[in-house]
Symmetry: D2
Subunit: 204 residues, 4 copies
């Protein structure tokens, strides 16, 4: 039988990358993000999630859980996407921070006086430049490799097996699910609350 | 400043769950899945990915990478979804293995003589009953908690912080990304190949 | 230069079919549908639109306009799809009235005590059997040709050029846009209201 | 019982607008569009359809039928969207011809040496400036009212009941379905061919 060495190594690489990333995600950025979301919930403002490709899918998974918690959350590009205005929140996700359409959406959101949160690997990216809050999530990205020292020593990354944005996307998925756990605590939500808002006519 | 204890704990819970899950995912199931995909690629047959809710989003992320590798991959429920027939592959994702529409799609696929792969936590679920290959991925699910011993001793799961299918979904995401790494090796694909098929007009 | 005879004939066939269909759409069914929607708007209940394939796209176009009017409208199968309950409205669209997933969604909606509106060509279809209101819209469909007399004499349909559900889908699109006009009048909405709720960060 | 005067008038307005539009759609533009699609089919090049909001939904309905005819068609913004290159075709739909993301996509497509077809009401719009072929479809649009004489005398439009882009969208839907009829003739496709490629696992 095959040993599936690449499967195992990639699995371990991604799993360990995710765990180690917790050491480099700045907790004060996450705290600011959580506070903003709590205020947005209480003021019944909207949250619009924006991302392209696989980052967009991670964003949708987050938007779905926000809806389960009772947020007025939406996904840019789907049928039901309302206008955004002052104090609505736009969560824009791009590993490189350069994805044209995501940067354009963040810029437009800023003009509407919405709050912009950037989930990106690059604090100095175009996306981050429009953001009120930047939550930096490590990952190799399309535009550039992570700084070597950072990648090899701190994250223990050698011979990358996960192509393009994979590490960023999988880490962002876990990070955002952990934000959901903190929000549940802060808003006093139980799993039953989540279940009650879960679609009861479930299709694809 | 807040300590964001729930954020940290949930992050560690999910990250450790993912890593530990590698010990319980049966490598022979993954090998059969990889072999089927390699044959599907070589015979230019289609791969149709099916899943509801967040499992569906994980499936889309997988389908996108398959496309980047040159597969004829599709997502059930999107605009461009072709008919499936003999020896096409349907990858159906459902933690509980009971999601009505996913089970119905697997049953329909079986009738069309497509090969069905179930990604699920339950080997004895309705979904698994239609599958040629079952890749069992642990996770708490909507229908039932994992067996206590398994959950607490092997996976180290206490006081779950990740609601509903979160652990299944995040673990399935990493498992499927590791399958992509193995496929890249088996099919001799480089990251450049992936990049060349990546959408060059990227929007949401 | 080519005469594009098939283009012209198909265009005229579809255009005339749409206009003639107004003579066979029962105005009392439309009135009941409009009344239900007005009540749904006033009681701030949800409207969930359901349809597969091209009928689903027509449904999305309708759901988008409902949102522009201030309705809490949603589309089954998109990321943000909430649970439905008593007195929410499910608008299910299927020319044949037999599309498995649409019928299943209507049946599920009925169990949740939602009101079901069927947009279909067949008053005796499985879909219609779950409906509180049936708005019958003519069209050739996948499962059966329209009754010959009806098709040829009343609708003037010969040598059909529009494949499968085309006539149903295009007629349903216009019918639902006319429902929007009536709703604007009944709810006192202006085009400015529509524009103000139109997405201001528009992407695909 | 209510007379549903607004429903009836809007229905007639849209239906008559669609029929009258055939007099102003330039048949040589449609012929060039059909020729391009026939060549694209024969050379097995890709067709990527682009549109925002309701125009995007009309585009998806067209892309779905192209797939039914055996085209390699895709929709920008969905999961499976490949890269485009030389001699692939991008069909970009925008009534006003100014929708930012659609114009950006057309510009990007042009750089990749793809052929760009603009479906728009404005021959002098930014979108049209990137197009190899412009198929002008009348309609009131968000940015400007149609020229009065054109609107009132030729199209017979008074007191518009269809908000924003409705007339453009519904007319484009019928126009594109008539293009499908012409393509079926040119490519020798029957309704059976369409049916055989229609999704056989149909969900939303």
């Amino acid at each position: 039988m095959q040993d599936l060495r690449y499967f195992r190594n990639a699995y371990l690489e991604i799993g360990n990358f995710i765990l180690n990333a917790l050491n480099v995600i700045r907790i004060e950025d996450v705290a600011a993000f959580v506070d903003l979301l709590v205020n947005t919930y209480r003021s019944e403002k909207k949250v619009l999630v924006v991302g392209a490709g696989r980052s967009g899918l991670v964003g949708r998974a987050f938007a779905m859980r926000l809806m389960h918690l009772g947020f007025r959350s939406y996904v840019l590009g789907e049928t039901i996407t309302p206008s955004v205005g002052e104090n609505d929140v736009v969560v824009a996700i791009s590993g490189s921070g350069t994805t044209t359409m995501v940067v354009a959406a963040a810029e437009a959101a800023k003009k509407m006086k919405a709050k912009v949160v950037a989930i990106t690997s690059y604090r100095d990216s175009p996306l981050a430049s429009y953001a009120d809050i930047v939550v930096q999530v490590p990952g190799r990205t399309k535009v550039a490799k992570m700084d070597d020292y950072f990648a090899r020593q701190i994250l223990g990354l050698h011979e990358p097996l996960a192509p393009l944005g994979t590490l960023f996307e999988d880490t962002a998925m876990v990070m955002l699910d952990a934000v959901i756990a903190e929000l549940m605590y802060r808003l006093g939500k139980t799993e039953e609350d989540v279940k009650s808002r879960h679609a009861n006519i479930e299709v694809l």
